[in-house]
Amino acid sequence: MSPTPHAKHDIKDVLGLVAETDRPVPTPADDLARAQGAARARTQRRFRAGLAGLAVVSVLGVGAATVLDDADQQTTQVSPGGVELVAQQFDAAPYTFDLTPRGWSVQGQRPQAVTIAPDDGSTSDEPDDFVGKLVIMFDANPPSGDAVELDGRTFWVSDSGDGYTTMATRTRGDEPAGVVRIQYPRDAGWDEDSMLAFLASVHVGDSARLGVG
């Protein structure tokens, strides 16, 4: 296409004039090797974080509230980082969960939020300190992030950029109107599939209250 002076052009054609490049394209194998290297580096970071957690346990011991672990539960999902979700319902009123994360315990429950901490003692005992923990929140803020469809519901996934991922979904029609979201640390052994399944298993009770923030 060779435009003549003063000819009218559609903007898409104009963008097409400059979008093409003659730069050599790397092979898919190059991209795969690079991505696999990043995946290995992430796994090593998680492994090191796990060892650090164990070291803290040996010194401080563990004091958790409601233990969610149970030997006769059916494991439904194991994330690559090793965290298991089992098909066992538990209550953290006013919230109910159809899946239970093995080795994690409810540390704090309020009408606006639930805090779930690992049993390895790697996090603080303060329920309002969310570092290293799962936090389930209920609020009226609009969800944002990448939209993911799962079992007829839309979930929004966003990386906060500080080592945490937040997922959000609107409550079901028979639940109080709002958005339920979960924030989790990416280095604690969870993966997105597991966390989406866990968030999808949350039921919001009538006494839940919208948080502010």
């Binding site: 060779s2 004039l17 979008a19 003659d22 730069r23 898919p28 991209d31 991505a35 469809e149 599939d193």
Partner: protein, 180 residues
């Protein structure tokens, strides 16, 4: 929920890359206003992120659309980083860009002028133009990708198009025909 093995992920990733890498590079080239090294960085970063969250790619209605969104997010993130102090304007845009590689079929003068015009837009305005007019996303979808309101998309788009009309018209090469 069925789980696929790592080898499944690898083979799917390779197939996806083979089919869509060039598309992503074209988008990145527009977002970067012709900075080919920056565009290649964006594509590599995007592909790596996609691999690390391949479950999300699988679940997406359109993996390519998902990848394009991710690419746009990587671009916005990168332009926010302080260490990337890339100029958004140059004193003599056409002169600066005349050394751009020549692509067969494209008039090098026109290419330089168009790239200079894109380069003179802010990163988010450029993203709006690319999403709206290259990928044909509507206002609502563009707003979702960029995490802003539809009104912001409309105003950014209108300003960007007005600017492009002015710059391209002044260059005496192109009269842009656009619908806001």
């Amino acid at each position: 929920m069925p789980r696929n093995s790592h080898s499944d992920r690898d083979s799917e990733f390779v197939a996806f890359t083979r089919d869509h890498r060039r598309d992503l590079l074209r988008t990145a080239t527009l977002l970067c206003a012709g900075d080919e090294a920056f565009a290649e960085d964006l594509v590599q970063t995007t592909l790596t992120r996609l691999y690390l969250a391949w479950g999300r790619v699988r679940r997406a209605d359109s993996p390519l659309a998902y990848a394009r969104r991710s690419l746009t997010h990587v671009f916005i993130d990168e332009t926010r980083r302080a260490h990337r102090r890339r100029e958004t304007t140059v004193a003599d845009p056409a002169g600066e860009l005349v050394a751009e590689p020549v692509v067969p079929g494209a008039d090098p003068d026109v290419r330089a002028v168009v790239l200079a015009a894109l380069n003179s837009l802010g990163p988010r305005q450029r993203a709006v133009v690319v999403l709206r007019h290259w990928h044909d996303l509507d206002v609502a979808d563009t707003a979702t990708v960029l995490g802003c309101s539809p009104g912001t998309v409309k105003s950014q788009n209108a300003r960007a198009l007005a600017h492009l009309r002015t710059v391209l018209g002044a260059a005496d090469h192109l009269l842009l025909e656009v619908s806001p």
